[in-house]
């Protein structure tokens, strides 16, 4: 086993893992605000990529304009989803909410299929695709974009939750919804916010990964599941733990495919998911009852 091979596996794994982390944080933000797992999270990832393509090709916008438009449009979709599907629910028991998010994901996927067809599409990379050599390994400029944007988003997230009033309010909801309501925090508004933030994050993840992995109406399913794994490893924290969870998952997958057998790549992710759920349901880094935001 040579060093440059290991380096390549690790670098590939880190960039895939960064995407899992972004999607995973989207899961945990909504989980913390509402107590539900939003299984439609993967679809916002897909919407990010497909909407960018739509703005690029149908409206002929340049890439720098298409991306904010796509993020805005997916955020509106997230907002509508909360308003039309989550809020009107009379008995918001977790099981009802979970089923609604699954239904929502099928609906979003179906509509995208009707709208944009079933083909896979490629999105141009942000800044060329000439490989960059690091040691004996190579990465693409797009990988750097992915890592940089992930860092910025995680930092912005941290700032929002710890240094703004609405972020602190959202943390309060995560600790205790009833108490938060009693001190005058509009819990329903916070739920709406959580959907807005996580759909925006999901779509950004979808956009920055699309030049590498291409996009289609059904890419959300697998990416959503991997993001969910990342969130579980991170113990549903919307901070660093989920990021580490995502990176860990990405690197393990990549090493597993390279060193053991490529056939087991997805199995590795789901075995980790099951092991964590069985042995450490509070997450790899969590204490039994930990701060979750």
């Amino acid at each position: 086993m040579q060093f440059d091979q290991l380096l390549q596996y690790t670098l590939s794994g880190l960039s895939t893992g960064a995407i899992y982390a972004l999607i995973g944080i989207g899961f945990s933000i909504i989980y913390n605000a509402t107590g539900i797992i939003n299984f439609a999270q993967g679809e916002f990832v897909m919407l990010g990529g497909m909407l960018t393509l739509f703005f690029l090709e149908a409206l002929k916008l340049p890439l720098w304009a298409a991306i904010p438009c796509a993020v805005a449009a997916s955020t509106v979709a997230g907002l509508l989803f909360e308003r039309l599907a989550i809020r009107p629910l009379r008995q918001p028991t977790p099981i009802n909410l979970v089923i609604i998010t699954i239904g929502g994901s099928i609906l979003i996927r179906g509509l995208s299929m009707l709208l944009w067809g079933k083909d896979t599409h490629a999105i141009p990379p942000f800044s060329g695709d000439d490989p960059i050599a690091i040691g004996g390994a190579t990465i693409l400029p797009q990988h750097l974009w992915i890592l940089a944007i992930t860092v910025i988003i995680v930092a912005a997230n941290r700032f929002y939750f710890y240094h703004t009033i609405s972020g602190k309010a959202m943390r309060a909801c995560a600790y205790n919804r009833r108490a938060a309501g009693l001190v005058g925090i509009d819990v329903r508004r916070m739920v709406l916010f959580s959907f807005i933030i996580s759909s925006a994050m999901g779509s950004i993840a979808g956009i920055i990964v699309a030049p590498l992995t291409m996009t289609a109406y059904d890419v959300g399913v697998m990416l959503g599941l991997k993001g969910f794994c990342a969130a579980i490893i991170g113990g549903m924290s919307s901070g660093l733990a989920t990021v580490v969870g995502g990176l860990l998952l990405g690197v393990l997958e990549s090493l597993g495919a390279g060193l053991i057998s490529s056939g087991y790549k997805d199995a590795i992710a789901f075995i980790i998911l099951l092991l964590i759920l069985f042995i450490r349901p509070q997450g790899l880094f969590g204490k039994a009852e930990s701060e979750r935001v």
């Binding site: 390549q8 596996y9 299929m113 490629a122 695709d129 190579t138 399913v221």
Partner: protein, 379 residues
Amino acid sequence: MRFRCIQFFSAVLTLFVAQAAFAAAPIKIGALFAVTGPAAFLGEPERNSAKMVIDEINKAGGVKGRKLELVAYDTAGDATKAVQLATKLIKDDKVVAIIGPSTTGESMAVIPVAEKEQIPLISCAAGSKITDPVKKWVFKTAQNDALAVGKIFDYLQRHKQTSVAILTVSDGFGSSGREQLKAQAAKFGITILSDDTYGPKDTDMTSQLTKIRGSKAQAIICWGTNPGPALIAKNARQLGLKIPLYMSHGVSSKKFIELAGEAAEGIRLPSGKVLVADVLPNSDSQKKSLMAFVKDYQNHYKAEGDHFGGHAWDAVMLLKGAIEHGADSPAAIRDQLEKTSSFAGIGGTFNYSSQEHAGLGKDAFVLVEIKNKDWVIVK
């Protein structure tokens, strides 16, 4: 006694009338295509082509005065659904033959139904195992993987690239290709140094390619359908792999070039002749069929016809041929299909017999290379 007599005659009369009505009725042909789902790139052009050619046959007055009616269902690439719909075609729609399904997995699932109900099935999928061993009621129009593998190996052998790495997708198409690659390697004096797979939904194959880079392989053969191979092409470019990349006929459509972009340059693959129809010599027996198909498809759908659509085109034309010979029941159609010889279609020149239900020879494929975003025939 007299009453009995009347009863008998009326029965005969009813039968006769029914028979007459039946004769005027169109001949129903069933079709199962994966129009939606992951294999939609196969199913959609197949359905379009089948519709197109049946419309045209009917416009020209049908076959021996009888119109053809296409009953097409969408299997969404799902084998369970394909089996249900096959049963529906046979029991409810009472079709005389079934075209499809689009994928090898679905075809294998539907075969027992067709065999049991004794309805001829003309599969549009490529897997060799569909007609090997020969099943009485099952034919296929797509070129066998074995032929495609042979085409690549033949080229590699002539160019002395005898140590190869294979990278196949873990679905029906990929595993069938993998079996063929491994089975035929020895015959061409080729050693497989590494044997890797990837999932149909995987988004990064650099791990597998890094592993291959570490081996002494002189060429990589990748077996899959879009979008995986396009990602592999991009990953290979990222890693700066110098060894040539060979793909399967599963990606021989413009879509692959579009998806892989720059990374597609220099990739070689076996392909049906549709892609290069216009540059084929006029002496090629398939040229007439190919040009007609490409032109028709362009007129009907404003898109380029590909060889996937061609599989359905061939299937309909083969059925038409059988019906022209007077067959209109499932059994008669089957017998006539088996007698098909030298039918120059889209996929190749078909010669069916009781031992051969795939019907195509090595000339069904040409090896092409991608140059300047277009196909060039490689000798």
